[in-house]
């Protein structure tokens, strides 16, 4: 009992800390915005549709991008995020809808005249040129004096920590170094917007974490708007000012990382961002939801439709002694994950995923305890689950991308 309380306390502290940090960040974004209210929206997409043959990859996509923000398009493979980026880069023309860049129509402008640069998924470095020549490619087209080109290239190479690599051939570089060259090659042109298409996908985990921090730093230092495409929800939450969650060509939710995590708008978002238990529930009245024939308090009002999805995050569930007013079940597996234990509890014919620092042995009888704040009520959608426990790693399905390019 003592343990549980301790863990509970710890978690609450954590959350408070998280929230305050987030608040200060919001304040920062706020000031940034008020600084340049005139041009706060650098790019706007309105009602953009795009189909490849029978498949509609962009459905009525509408969003805007603020100046100097780090925006992430997040979703599983085939959700339309890469196509959205390619529309911005000029490599795809949408079937309908408008895209404006600083208030001007962007669509008739060919890629080579757009003030955006792209970091491609597989880097797309020129194999017949060395590192410096790759970085200088864009500047050479602009016919800058050779002296200026050289100094900007070496400046950029030192920014991406590749000093002295200028004369290296591309095939002598590691994946991480190629990545940096690709970023340098795009940034050296000082674009207003940098588009990044899963730039870290081919790197190992450690390298990816390092690059995430470095990219975020570069974005802040240079004050360039970043539009970042990824299927990695952790990456999105770590780096972004705003996240757009997409699935099957449609936007599911737009918001700050914390909002998307804490207040997912539907079962898809809840499932895709972090791990969650998504359960069928019924709401007959305000502030009370029926789960597995038991009533639980919640903070939402009654929905028009009685059938709802209930989302409870695994870390919001505490395992306590079985009690009449709780859902009771049996622990079927318990795995040590470092910071916490991951336990699966079978209760009312559903598998519940529970994260807790407090270990319960397999086979022990437990009650699932969660507070009204932890119960998120969502309208039923196409993504509503058939079972209690969701796919724990929908993101990892995409690890073998590759055809994503087309």
């Amino acid at each position: 009992m003592e343990n549980i309380e301790k863990a509970d306390q710890l978690k609450k502290n954590n959350r408070v800390r998280l929230l305050t940090r987030e608040r200060s960040k919001t304040a920062m974004i706020g000031t940034q915005l008020s600084d340049k209210t005139g041009q706060s929206h650098i790019i706007e997409l309105v009602g953009v549709n795009k189909s490849f043959g029978e498949v509609q990859v962009m459905r009525d996509i509408t969003f805007y991008i603020r100046s100097n923000e780090f925006l992430t398009l997040l979703g599983p493979s085939g959700c339309g995020k890469t196509t959205t980026l390619r529309v911005l880069g000029g490599f795809e023309q949408p079937d309908s809808g408008t895209v404006t860049f600083e208030g001007h129509d962007l669509l008739p402008i060919p890629p080579h005249e757009r003030e955006l640069n792209t970091v491609f998924q597989r880097y797309a470095l020129f194999p017949h040129l060395d590192v410096a020549e790759n970085v200088a490619f864009g500047l050479q087209i602009k016919k800058l004096p050779q002296g200026e080109i050289d100094s900007r290239v070496s400046q950029m190479l030192s920014l991406v920590k590749l000093d002295g690599y200028g004369a290296r051939a591309i095939d002598q570089l590691s994946g991480g170094q190629m990545q940096r060259v690709a970023i340098a090659r795009a940034l050296v042109n000082l674009p207003k917007v940098l588009l990044l298409d899963e730039p870290l996908g081919a790197l190992d985990l450690k390298m990816r974490k390092e690059m995430q921090i470095e990219l975020k730093q570069m974005q802040r230092e240079l004050g360039i708007t970043f539009v970042y495409v990824t299927h990695d929800q952790e990456e999105a939450l770590t780096m972004s000012d705003s996240v757009i969650v997409m699935n099957e060509g449609a936007i599911q939710q737009i918001g700050r990382p914390i909002d998307i995590y804490n207040e997912p708008r539907n079962a898809f978002v809840a499932d895709f961002i972090g791990e969650s238990n998504i359960i069928n529930g019924r709401m007959h009245e305000d502030f009370r939801v029926l789960i597995c024939d038991k009533w639980f308090p919640c903070v939402d009002r009654r929905h028009e439709n009685e059938e709802v999805d209930v989302v409870i995050r695994p870390e919001d569930i505490d395992l306590v002694k079985p009690a009449d007013n709780l859902l009771n079940g049996i622990v079927t597996s318990a795995t040590f994950k470092g910071v916490h234990y991951e336990m699966i509890v079978e209760a009312c014919d559903l598998e519940w995923l529970v994260h807790s620092t407090d270990h319960k042995a397999e086979g022990s009888e437990v009650g699932l305890s969660f507070g009204p704040d932890d119960v998120h009520i969502m309208v039923k959608s196409a993504f509503s689950p058939m079972r209690g426990k969701s796919d724990q790693d929908s993101a990892s399905h995409e690890s073998e991308r590759g055809a994503d390019y087309e």
Partner: protein, 302 residues
């Protein structure tokens, strides 16, 4: 390890011995030997002497005589050799100019996953499956003074144009016969250029012409070199094409060798000519390949 691989390469060694080394040795043997009246074999350099000491003519190459008015006397075989080289080089250049755009078009269709790509490639390769003699005869029927093209031109009130028995006819025959050997290696390099490289180029501000000059052509150079190798060498040594389209009166180095063997029955001179030609081919190929290697070193190709 080495020993194991050594054993694995055994079939290849036999292949090389039977099909490359043995014929070469035989040619070398013929080049340095002859039979006396009694039918005894003896060593001789007469073959090489024949090549360089025969009748001389005034060299007219690159306008030396006709434009500059120079009178340089050279052995007949030198003029034949230079004539062969000029026609082969011109045919190779024309093949390159015609073949590169075709290869580019085919590669573009292939990358776009168009079905027509495979069909067009098939059409490109198909003539290679037909007998070269027949294909060249077909050109005779087309180009003759009373042939299909001249009949058509005649109806328009033009001609008849003399297409055959001149440099044009032979050059045309060479380009026609060897064009697929130019297209295929260039095509196979172009299809391997990832489309994202072209997008990256355009993303960085390059228009199509700049991308062609700075990305596509440099990346396709290995294919261009191998295409040049594959067209220049057979064009240089062919005897069939000048024989048919030159009306039997046209003498290129290939015909010279063929006549020594088949008409004069002078194996010694024929073999000596073959050896000299082979040495020239090996030297020029090594020059081309060294160039190619340097280019790729510089740019880190392949």
């Amino acid at each position: 390890m080495n020993k194991r691989f050594g054993r694995l390469s055994f079939p290849y060694i036999i292949w090389v011995a039977v099909f490359t080394i043995a014929p070469l040795l035989l040619v070398a043997f013929f080049a340095f030997t002859s039979y006396d009246i009694n039918g005894n074999l003896y060593f001789t350099l007469q073959g090489f002497r024949n090549i360089f000491s025969g009748a001389t003519v005034t060299l007219d190459w690159l306008g030396l005589k006709s434009i500059l008015g120079l009178d340089i006397q050279v052995p007949v075989y030198v003029t034949v050799f230079l004539k062969s080289l000029s026609i082969a080089v011109i045919a190779t250049l024309i093949s390159l100019l015609l073949g590169y755009p075709v290869a580019w078009l085919l590669a573009k269709l292939k990358i776009a996953k168009k079905r027509s790509a495979d069909f067009l490639l098939f059409l490109t390769v198909m003539p290679m499956w037909m007998n070269a003699l027949l294909r060249t005869y077909a050109w005779l029927a087309l180009l003759e003074p009373t042939g299909i093209i001249n009949t058509f031109l005649g109806n328009l009130g033009i001609g008849p144009v003399q297409f055959l028995y001149n440099d044009f006819g032979i050059g045309l025959g060479m380009v026609y016969n060897y064009l697929p050997f130019m297209i295929l290696p260039i095509y196979s390099v172009l299809v391997k250029i990832h489309p994202s490289l072209l997008e990256a180029s355009s993303d960085l501000g390059a228009d199509n012409i700049y991308t062609l000059r700075k990305v596509i052509i440099p990346l396709s150079l290995p294919g261009v070199y191998s295409g040049i190798n594959m067209v220049l060498m057979p064009a240089m040594t062919t005897f069939l094409i000048p024989d048919l389209l030159g009306g039997g009166r046209y003498m290129l180095i290939g015909n010279a060798i063929q006549r020594q063997y088949m008409i004069s029955r002078d194996y010694t001179t024929g073999s000596a000519l073959t050896i000299l030609l082979l040495i020239f081919v090996l030297i020029s190929m090594s020059v081309i390949n060294r160039n190619a290697a340097e280019m790729s070193e510089e740019g880190g190709l392949m």
